[in-house]
Symmetry: C2
Subunit: 146 residues, 2 copies
Amino acid sequence: MKLLTKNTDYVVRALIVLAMKRGQFISAREISKSQNTPYQFLRQILQKLIQNKIVVSKEGIGGGVRIVKSPSKISVLELIEMFQGNLELSDCMFRNKICQNRKTCVLRPEIKRIENNVALEFSKITIEKLVKKIGEKDEKKLYRNR
Amino acid sequence: MKLLTKNTDYVVRALIVLAMKRGQFISAREISKSQNTPYQFLRQILQKLIQNKIVVSKEGIGGGVRIVKSPSKISVLELIEMFQGNLELSDCMFRNKICQNRKTCVLRPEIKRIENNVALEFSKITIEKLVKKIGEKDEKKLYRNR
DNA sequence: CCTAACTGATACTAGTTTACTATCAGTTAT
DNA sequence: ATAACTGATAGTAAACTAGTATCAGTTAGG
Ligand code: FES
Ligand code: FES
């Protein structure tokens, strides 16, 4: 059960970088190098972020992408939905006898419940929170080294 | 994000049937017909249940499989793990700068937390509970029709 | 005004997974 | 004997994943 695919993984990391450098245009090449993500793959991913107005782009030298949506409003859930399609149930077997006789399925509501839970959890994880977590770790580090 | 694949879906339904007919040998053909599951696919699935000692088989005419593990002890989680492999994290990018610098990742613990939650929820859903749910629905139906 | 560093758009591809299908051998109740 | 079963295993089409490759257009700086 793979909750995140590579492109979602990469996009989260890219957005963390962009959130930490808010206001600046960062090139795909720079993100690719700093995060060890395949360049062309990352470019596709960034194009989708542009289409979804999470970042804006600037062409030419010194160009790149700049984050425009507030990191506090970018949830991992919307990134998953953007790159992996909607969270959706596995297909229903309409002609299944169990369901035919009882009108509704006993398994599916349970799965639906769990899926809703997963969606809720992912909706709570925002880019802002992840950036803050990085900050907290740095503080601890500074404290230990003092 | 597909939590259940077809084989897990089919095996749950097959086990519901077998649990409702505990003690009896039911053939793959019969389950296949009653649940509208592809026969050969179902046979593979049942063989795995046999290997995992959840059912026993009897060859020849009048044969089939019989459930031997208590339905209260068969969780959907173990079926998922049996048919979809362990719930596992998407691969880690060890050389990732964010993680290199901070020793640990900020995203991964969150995903791990959610995955553990999903596993816990699926471990609570047993075949026995699903069979009971079917029973409850039947009762409601009887009550309404009275 | 040239050129190097950028994005825009899109086509292609190898490998893996999913959801099956097919085959042949052996078993057992009637 | 034979029809209805399981045991074991090979094959396969389609979809998905994780990329790669190309070419066209844009822009800052010398
Ligand atoms: S198979 Fe469709 S709701 Fe159960
Ligand atoms: S990439 Fe490995 S723990 Fe973050």
